[in-house]
Symmetry: C2
Amino acid sequence: VTETAEPVSAPPATPHQVPAGMTAPAAPGPLADAVGEVRRRTAAEEARTIVAGTNLATLATLSDDGHPWGSFVAYGTLADGSPVLCLSTLAEHGRNLPRDPRASLVVAANPGDNDPLDSGRVTLAGAAVVPTGLELEDARDAYRTAVQDAAAFMDYGDFTIYVLQVDRVRWVGGFGRMDSTDASAYHAAEPDPVAGAAPYAVAHLNDDHEDALLDMARALAGYTDATAVRCTAADRYGLDLVVHTPRGRAQTRVGFAAPISAPNGLRSATVELARRSRALLDA
Amino acid sequence: VTETAEPVSAPPATPHQVPAGMTAPAAPGPLADAVGEVRRRTAAEEARTIVAGTNLATLATLSDDGHPWGSFVAYGTLADGSPVLCLSTLAEHGRNLPRDPRASLVVAANPGDNDPLDSGRVTLAGAAVVPTGLELEDARDAYRTAVQDAAAFMDYGDFTIYVLQVDRVRWVGGFGRMDSTDASAYHAAEPDPVAGAAPYAVAHLNDDHEDALLDMARALAGYTDATAVRCTAADRYGLDLVVHTPRGRAQTRVGFAAPISAPNGLRSATVELARRSRALLDA
């Protein structure tokens, strides 16, 4: 088995039922203790971030015979993360909801260059209600802000504005990364402010700063024998890394000194991480 | 109202309930009769083409309380267009289907540079059944062919292969373009063989051959006063065009001499269309 043929394991052991004779993924652990706090986005933060990242989703409603009916929709988002839909009774979903408000909305993150199956998505389940008064104005504003040309159709008589009142949230981050959360945690969480800037930052780190990534893996993540490192994701709390060692490949993570709160905060947080790593290695 | 501010109407009059005071979209008609047959893909062909174009979809199933549950899935496709799923009981959808096989699958076409809301998507509704014997082998092959790394998990004990037996098909092509079809038409239809090559062909026509597109609009589509033309889509039967005239903008279409049956057939069919148009204008 060559090094590149070895799978990169997800951090927890697989809960899947692996058949006899098949090898479960395994990866080498760190050789030293990790340094510093390593925080990850919660499921609620992941969900809010995914929902904030696009305006396209798939809606599941119930047809008149009780069959689950999926359809493609655009959505806006209220400040608390509640999705806003604008649906026509000319479409099946727009006839389903007045009869039964139960619905779920699936939003997938843009996978970029990653495997879409190993990328984030979220299901928000709840009841689609028709807002009135100030809530209707708020919902209309949210929809108009999010959906290009909404003004051209949202006042048509066959369209109705709905707010999905979220009861249940299921986040899947990719292989082996998933969790559920509830409505209050979902509404209280913030979308990650650096989500929009992260793909460029990741590409830049990999293209021009692998030396800094190596320092981080060796000094902070405990992979003292790292020979090559690739950054796979960046978020407000830190960087996900794939570390190559003579013992094989592993996934690990390094944490920023403090959570980033501004969309342009990735550069200074990463510089701090690189300096701290270099100082530890030089000490 | 300037010309560029005028909406490009969908071919049929809008069935939407337009409020008093709002103008329904309108566009100028052709000044001469169209020449030649103008065929469009059927809803079944559109559906088969969209399903053949990707391996990612959203599945709607029923949770134990009857709530519609949407989730992101990968799929393969049998020769007759039936989708193949491979689902784990670790995921909610994999626990839902053994209890209630009713499901629908939503597949969206890659919108490219177009508005995703004005792009194709399809809902396939039916029952997800567990194949056996030769049908299971066929389904496993289809899934493995379509889904990268499927071999790494499809034999895990918590995964089950399902085939969605399609009962009902709803295609939406974009604003004002939609139709339903049934299982027999869906299974009998072919995916468009030129779907993969079409985006490049459209870009090339717009970049380098607007003169030929103008000839087509003037000679074949009856827009004798066309001043500029843009191709918006190409398929095995013809080209969709947006025509600019002193009277405003309009959508129209020109048809190939015969349906294309090979993936590389767009060039020669388009050349024939350009020559025929030029000959008519020179006559």
